[in-house]
Structures are given as structure tokens and as C-alpha cells.
């Protein structure tokens, strides 16, 4: 069986699908951990894009950039999880709807 060659469109479609899943997760989920994970999903969708175009254009800068994104995401995960932990200790909940004190 012949497998159709993987073209940049496939990568882009995958990336877009993954990104939209992340967006939906951020928008719709109540649990902040899930929201956080959805953000990671969106980042990785971007990474896929970067890697795909890097391959496409035979330019390593895109993959290097992806590595940077992963590093930043790791740092962000550390900070984000710290905030979540602090929030949980204060509110005894992880519900995003309860995070509403920064309002008018």
C-alpha cells in the first residue's frame, strides 16, 4: 500500500487541529490544571509548525526556535504550577471560575 507522502499541509492541519483543541481546552474547561495543559498543547502545536517549516525550508533556525519554546514552556510550567499550588492553598479549589478577585 502506498502511503501518501507527508506534505506541509499535513503538518499544518495537525498543528491547527492541535491548536484548536488547546484553545477549546482553555476556553471550556474549569479545572485550571486542564487549562494549563491545554496551553502546553497550543505551544506544542506551534512547535510542530516551526519544525515543519524548518524541514520544508531546510533551515535549522526553526528547530532551534522550537527547542527554545520547549525550554520556555518548561520554565513557564514551573512558574504556572507554583501559582496554581499557591492558589489551591488559598482557595481549596482549582476551579477557574473561582479565580475572579481581579475584577471591578
Amino acid at each position: 500500500m502506498t502511503i501518501a507522502p507527508i506534505t506541509p499541509y499535513h503538518y499544518l492541519a495537525l498543528s491547527a487541529a492541535l491548536f484548536m483543541i488547546g484553545v477549546m481546552g482553555v476556553m471550556l474547561r474549569r479545572n485550571i490544571i486542564i487549562v494549563f495543559m491545554s496551553i502546553e498543547l497550543m505551544l506544542n502545536a506551534v512547535n510542530i509548525n516551526l519544525a515543519a517549516f524548518s524541514t520544508q525550508w531546510q533551515n535549522a533556525v526553526g528547530q532551534v526556535f522550537a527547542i527554545f519554546v520547549i525550554a520556555v514552556a518548561a520554565a513557564e510550567a514551573a512558574v504556572g504550577l507554583g501559582i496554581i499550588l499557591a492558589f489551591y492553598r488559598n482557595k481549596d479549589t482549582l476551579d477557574v471560575d473561582e479565580m475572579n478577585i481581579m475584577r471591578w
Binding site: 482553555v26 471550556l28 479565580m99 481581579m102 475584577r103 471591578w104
Partner: protein
């Protein structure tokens, strides 16, 4: 003679002492001692100065003392370029001022002594105040006569006016007294206006204000026979000043009213000294007047007419002091007449003799008023000769002196004036002779009504019948109760304001002779009234005209006027004829004086019904004279009412136009301010508030977007991205 500046200063020290310390703390005796003592010192100094002056040769009889600089040199424009306006505090002793200081200190001292008794019923403080004013007056009067230049004289001139005002209004609780004081002051201001203008004019024309320098400068100028030049204007202005001070037509109206003051004041200020200041001033500036014959004519006419008019008023007055007041105006008219015909020395001569006999008459009048417990109406007197022998004798001498009976003082001085007036203007001589007749008449009338005939006054209590006193007290018989009061009403006012006076309110025991302190000055003045004339016996009677010779260096005498005045020249060239004319004139004047006295004797003693019949026969004339020609009323209707009307007009103008403009501008400002307020409030503030309101309302709406929910924000971001992408894609 370097001490002459002390002469005015001693009374000044007395006045300051009495004013600052005396009113509060001095006893009556101490006040009297300070006042009389200072005057005695001044008199002694004056006599010494006079003696020293007489010992000098006649042509160097002048002594100046400069005490300091008053006004430092100021460059000021004059007719001949830029002059230096400079006034030193300078006093000058020369024959004229020497005579005057003797008169002022001599008569002044006697009147001070007299006042110590006359004013004894005043409260202690008022007693000291009276002597304070009296001393102050003497200071200013001596400054006036000793001043070597016009401004220093003017200081004295104004000062005596002030003291006159203070002393006329001495009984200031009495409305009429304070009114009279104001009247005197205001009328004098009108005259002073002329004096000040004259003074300015003198500086402008001559560049100096020193009397001697002015006299010398004017010698070089031509006599203004034809026209009305600068010198004539100066003289006219100075004459206006003199009419105010010396109570001549048209400014004489204050002097009769000035009789509201205590009698010694009338004697000192309003008879002997201050009112003669105008005559003195014109004698001082005689060199100017000689050069202005037209003004001299005016002076002579005013003097003669004043003498006549005042004498006619004096005929019918019933108030003893008013008769004497009009007599003073009349005699001052004589002095002006003398001045007007160039007989300055004769004017000063009459001034001197008048000072004696008129002060005597006033003090005698005061003695009568004192004896009658404040009564001044001669119709309620009579027969007082029995009770007041000394007063009567001295008053008789005064009357004979003023009437011009030889050898009393008034005869010589008045006769000199009549003679010189005859040489000048026959009409004026005739007027003066008629006045002499009237003078003799009204003075003997005064004497008759007061001292002779039968007593017409109120009854009095005697020691013998105390019941009568009680009865009188019970029934309130209208007779003076307080033997020493100056009128009942006044006494009551005194008690209201000062508390009860510490005199024993005694029952009036009838007219009584005054105490020694009053009679001795009377006698001294009577001696003066007898002998003062001998200083100026005319050549025709074998005398040497001593006073005229003595005054020659100071005033422009006949020797000078001989060149300028045709009449004077005639007089001295035809001495043989003139001496017979002089004899005739002398006989005429003695004749009219005798006629006046005999007439008054007939009218008021032998046949007292005549005056009443005359009054009934010519009621209009009588009313006219009794009401003093209605001059006061006329002045009131024209000058006073005119001034009031003008004031009212100006007030209306002030309120309508000046205040209206101010009010209008205020109103406009208010309107403008209101507009600005509205603009500020609704436009400027409105804009500011609108911005604030919009920000606040906008934020109220927009803040609802800030839900605090992260997912909302994410949704909005997404929507934004979506919209943005849509726009970008559509654009392509």
C-alpha cells in the same frame, strides 16, 4: 535789646504751664499768679526794651533778633526772576512795635488782674483754662506786633484769631456763645484769605517778605495814581485781611456777637488789642499803601462809613456790651479813616488811646454786669452810681475820653484824625464829625441808663428782711438769686456740666461795688484814659506831636506823603492857615461832643419820654437801627443760605453724578462678574466636568468588561484575533 524775643515767650510759657498742668492741678490762686506773673514779666521787659529803644538816636531805632530759620531758602518765581523764598523767625523792635508791645502788655496785664476777680465764680479747671487762653492770646498778639516779616506776623494773626474763637466760646455749653465763636472764626477766615493772597503777591512783586525790605523796595516804584497796578492789588488784599480782623464793613458782623465771651475777653481782644491788628498791619505796610492812592480812598471811605453806621446802630442797642461793641467798630472805623487819609501815626495814636478808654469802658461794663448778677440790659439798670462809685467815676472818664472832651485821651487822637480827614476828604470829615456827635450821644446814653436816673432793675433781698427772701424764693420772683452768676440759665448749665460750682449760692443783696482786683485796673486804665493823649499833643496846642515824631521811622508819615499826597502837601505848606483851620475843627469837634452829651442828658435824664416818642414817630427807622440794618439777616439770606444752597446742590450732584458714577460702575462690575461667573460655572467648569463625567460614566460601562475571569479574557482575545484575521483576509 536782644531779649525782646522773650516778651512773647513769657506768656507762652504761662499758657503752656496752665494748659498742661494748671487745668488739672492748679488752685485758682496759682493759676492767677502764673498768668498775671507772666504778664507782669512781659510788661517789665517791654518797658525796659522801650526805654532802651528811646535812648537810641531816632534814625537807628530798630533792633532785629533772628531766632532761627523757619522756612529754608526755596527758589521761587517772582516778577523779576527766580527769587529765594526764605522766612526766618525774626522779631523786630522799632518805634511802632515798641508802642504796640507797651499797649498789649500794659492793658493785657491790667485785664489779667481784673479777670482774677471777675472769673472767680468759674469752676477751678475753667478758671485755669481761661487764663491759659488769655496768656496764649498775649503770646500770639506779641508775636503779631513783633514779627519782622509778614509770615511771622501771620502766625500771630492766626493765633489771635484762634484765641478769640476759644475765648468767645469760653462758655461753650451755651449755644449762642459757641455759635458766636464759630461766626468770628469763619468771618475772620474770609479776611485771612485776602491777607494770604496779599502776602503771596508781596513776595511775587518784591521777592522778599521782610517789612523793612519791602518798604525800601517800594520806594523805587512809582505811585499808582492812575491805574490799579500790582501794589494796589496787594494793598487791596491786605485791606481785606484788615477788614476781617478789625471788624470793618463788610466783615464787621462777628464783633458784636463776640460779646458772648466773658467781659475781660471783650476788653482785651475785642476792644484793645486784637481788633486793632488790622490798623497795625496797615501801618506796618504803610509804604505800600502810600503808593496806592486808590486803595487809600477805599480804606478811608470804608472806615468813615463803618464809623458812622456802627455809631447809628449803637444809638438804640440796650445790651451794655453791644453798645460798647458797636462803639468799638465805630472807633476802628476812625482808625481806618486815619489810615485811608495817610495819617498812619494818627491811626496808631487813636489805637493807643482807644486801647485805654475802651478797655476801661468794657471792664467798667463788666463791673456793672458783675454787680447786677449777669444782667446786661441797660433798661433794667439805672441809678447804679450810688452803689458803684468807683466804677461810675472811671466809666465817666472813659465816656468823656471816647466822646472827645479835652483834655482826655480821645480828644487828641480823634481830633488828629478829624483834622487829617478834613485835609483829605471834606465829606469824610463831615461823616466823622457826625459820628463824633453820635459817639458822645450813645456813650452818655449808656452812662445815663446805667448809672444815673432811678433804679429800674429787679428788687433785691436785704439783710433786714429774711422773710422777703423766703417769700421771693417761694413765689419764684424773677430776680437773680446767685449774686455772682453770669446769668441764671448759664449758671444752671455750668452746674450740669461741671457739677455744682463751689461758690456759695448766696441771695443777691443788690448791686455792689466790685472787689479791689477789679477796681484797681479800672483806676489804672482811667489814669491812662486821662493822660494817654498827652503823648501826641498837636503842634497847634503847643505840643510836639511826640508820638508821630517817634513813629516816623516806622510808618510813612506826612513827611513822605507830602510828596505823594496833594492834601498832605497842602497841609504842610500853608501852616499858617492850617493852624487856624485846625483850631476851628477842634472847636467844632468839641462842640459836637458836648452837644451829644447834652442831648443824651436831655433825652435820657431830664425828659425820658423823648426816645419813646421818637421810636413811635419813626418806627421803621427805629426797627432798622435796633435790628442792626438787618445785615445779619441779609448775610444769612445771601451768604449763609447761598452757601447752604450751594452745598445742597453739590450734595445732590455728589449723590447723583459722583456717587451715581461710582454706584453705576459698581453695578456694571457686578453684572460683568455675574456673566463671568456664569461662563465659568457652565462653560469652563462645564467642560471640565463633562470630561470627568464622560471618563467616569465610560469607565462605569467599560469596567464591566473586567470580569476577573481568565477565560473571558481568552475568549475576547480569540474573538479579536478572529475579527482581525477576518479583516485581513477580506482585505486581500
Amino acid at each position: 535789646m536782644n531779649f525782646i524775643w522773650l516778651i512773647p515767650l513769657v506768656p507762652a510759657v504761662g499758657a503752656v504751664l496752665l494748659g498742661l498742668v494748671g487745668i488739672r492741678w492748679f488752685s485758682r490762686t496759682a493759676s492767677a499768679a502764673v498768668a498775671c506773673g507772666s504778664m507782669a514779666i512781659a510788661l517789665a521787659l517791654s518797658i525796659v526794651a522801650f526805654v532802651q529803644l528811646v535812648q537810641l538816636p531816632p534814625d537807628v531805632r530798630v533792633h532785629d533778633v533772628v531766632l532761627g530759620n523757619w522756612i529754608p531758602p526755596i527758589p521761587l518765581a517772582t516778577a523779576t526772576g527766580i527769587g529765594s523764598f526764605q522766612v526766618p523767625w525774626a522779631v523786630r523792635l522799632d518805634p511802632l512795635s515798641a508802642v504796640m508791645i507797651l499797649v498789649v502788655t500794659g492793658v493785657g496785664f491790667l485785664i489779667h488782674v481784673y479777670s482774677t476777680a471777675y472769673m472767680l465764680d468759674e469752676p477751678r479747671g475753667a478758671y485755669a483754662r481761661f487764663f491759659c487762653y488769655l496768656n496764649l492770646f498775649c503770646f500770639f498778639m506779641l508775636t503779631l506786633v513783633l514779627g519782622a516779616n509778614i509770615p511771622v506776623m501771620f502766625v500771630g494773626w492766626e493765633g489771635v484769631g484762634l484765641c478769640s474763637y476759644l475765648l468767645i466760646g469760653f462758655w461753650y455749653e451755651k449755644q449762642s456763645a459757641s455759635d458766636a465763636g464759630k461766626k468770628a472764626f469763619i468771618v475772620n477766615r474770609i479776611g485771612d484769605w485776602g491777607f494770604i493772597l496779599g502776602m503771596m503777591m508781596v513776595f511775587y512783586v518784591f521777592g522778599t517778605l521782610d517789612f523793612r525790605a519791602v518798604s525800601q523796595a517800594v520806594q523805587a516804584m512809582p505811585t499808582e495814581t492812575a491805574g490799579f497796578g500790582a501794589i494796589s492789588i496787594i494793598c487791596l488784599l491786605l485791606f481785606i485781611g484788615a477788614t476781617g480782623k478789625s471788624a470793618q464793613i463788610p466783615l464787621y458782623v462777628w464783633l458784636p456777637d463776640a460779646m458772648e465771651g466773658p467781659t475781660p475777653v471783650s476788653a482785651l481782644i475785642h476792644a484793645a488789642t486784637m481788633v486793632t491788628a488790622g490798623v497795625y498791619m496797615m501801618a506796618r505796610t504803610s509804604a505800600l499803601f502810600i503808593h496806592a492812592p486808590l486803595v487809600m480812598t477805599i480804606v478811608a471811605v470804608i472806615g468813615g462809613v463803618t464809623a458812622f453806621v456802627a455809631a447809628t446802630i449803637g444809638l438804640v442797642q440796650n445790651d451794655i456790651k453791644r453798645v460798647l461793641a458797636y462803639s468799638t467798630v465805630s472807633q476802628l472805623g476812625y482808625m481806618f479813616l486815619a489810615t485811608g487819609v495817610g495819617a498812619f501815626a494818627a491811626g496808631i495814636f487813636h489805637l493807643t488811646t482807644h486801647a485805654f478808654f475802651k478797655a476801661l469802658l468794657f471792664l467798667g461794663g463788666g463791673s456793672v454786669i458783675h454787680a447786677m448778677a449777669g444782667e446786661q440790659n441797660m433798661q433794667r439798670m439805672g441809678g447804679l452810681r450810688r452803689h458803684l462809685p468807683v466804677t461810675y467815676a472811671t466809666m465817666l472818664i472813659g465816656t468823656l475820653a471816647i466822646a472827645g472832651i479835652p483834655p482826655f485821651a480821645g480828644f487828641f487822637s480823634k481830633d488828629e484824625i478829624l483834622y487829617r480827614a478834613f485835609l483829605g476828604y471834606h465829606v469824610m470829615w463831615f461823616l466823622a464829625v457826625v459820628t463824633a456827635l453820635l459817639t458822645a450821644f450813645y456813650m452818655y446814653r449808656l452812662l445815663s441808663l446805667t448809672f444815673l436816673g432811678s433804679y429800674r432793675g429787679p428788687a433785691w433781698a436785704t439783710h433786714a428782711s429774711p422773710a422777703a427772701v423766703v417769700e421771693a424764693a417761694i413765689h419764684g420772683v424773677a430776680h437773680p438769686v446767685d449774686a455772682h452768676a453770669h446769668g441764671q440759665a448759664q449758671r444752671k448749665e455750668h452746674e450740669v456740666t461741671h457739677g455744682a460750682a463751689d461758690v456759695t449760692t448766696a441771695v443777691w443783696h443788690g448791686p455792689h461795688e466790685s472787689p479791689r482786683a477789679m477796681t484797681v485796673p479800672l483806676i489804672a486804665l482811667a489814669i491812662g484814659a486821662v493822660f494817654a493823649g498827652f503823648i501826641g499833643i498837636p503842634a497847634v496846642l503847643g505840643g510836639g506831636n511826640a508820638l508821630e515824631r517817634f513813629l516816623e521811622p516806622s510808618v510813612a508819615g506826612p513827611a513822605h506823603s507830602a510828596e505823594t499826597s496833594a492834601a498832605g502837601a497842602a497841609a504842610h505848606h500853608e501852616s499858617g492857615e492850617s493852624s487856624s483851620v485846625e483850631w476851628v475843627l477842634m472847636l467844632v469837634s468839641v462842640g459836637v461832643a458836648a452837644a451829644g452829651i447834652l442831648g443824651a442828658r436831655h433825652f435820657y435824664l431830664t425828659n425820658p419820654a423823648i426816645p419813646q416818642r421818637l421810636a413811635h414817630a419813626w418806627p421803621r427807622t427805629y426797627a432798622l437801627l435796633l435790628n442792626k440794618y438787618y445785615v445779619d439777616e441779609a448775610y444769612d439770606a445771601t451768604v449763609v443760605q447761598g452757601t447752604m444752597a450751594a452745598s445742597r446742590g453739590l450734595r445732590a450732584f455728589d449723590r447723583a453724578v459722583i456717587d451715581g458714577a461710582v454706584d453705576g460702575s459698581g453695578w456694571l462690575t457686578r453684572i460683568a462678574a455675574w456673566c463671568a461667573h456664569m461662563i465659568d460655572k457652565y462653560i469652563v467648569d462645564g467642560l471640565v466636568n463633562l470630561v470627568g463625567w464622560m471618563a467616569s460614566e465610560g469607565s462605569l460601562m467599560l469596567r464591566r468588561l473586567q470580569t476577573g475571569l481568565v477565560q473571558n479574557y481568552a475568549l475576547m482575545m480569540l474573538a479579536g484575533v478572529f475579527v482581525f484575521l477576518t479583516l485581513v483576509l477580506l482585505a486581500h
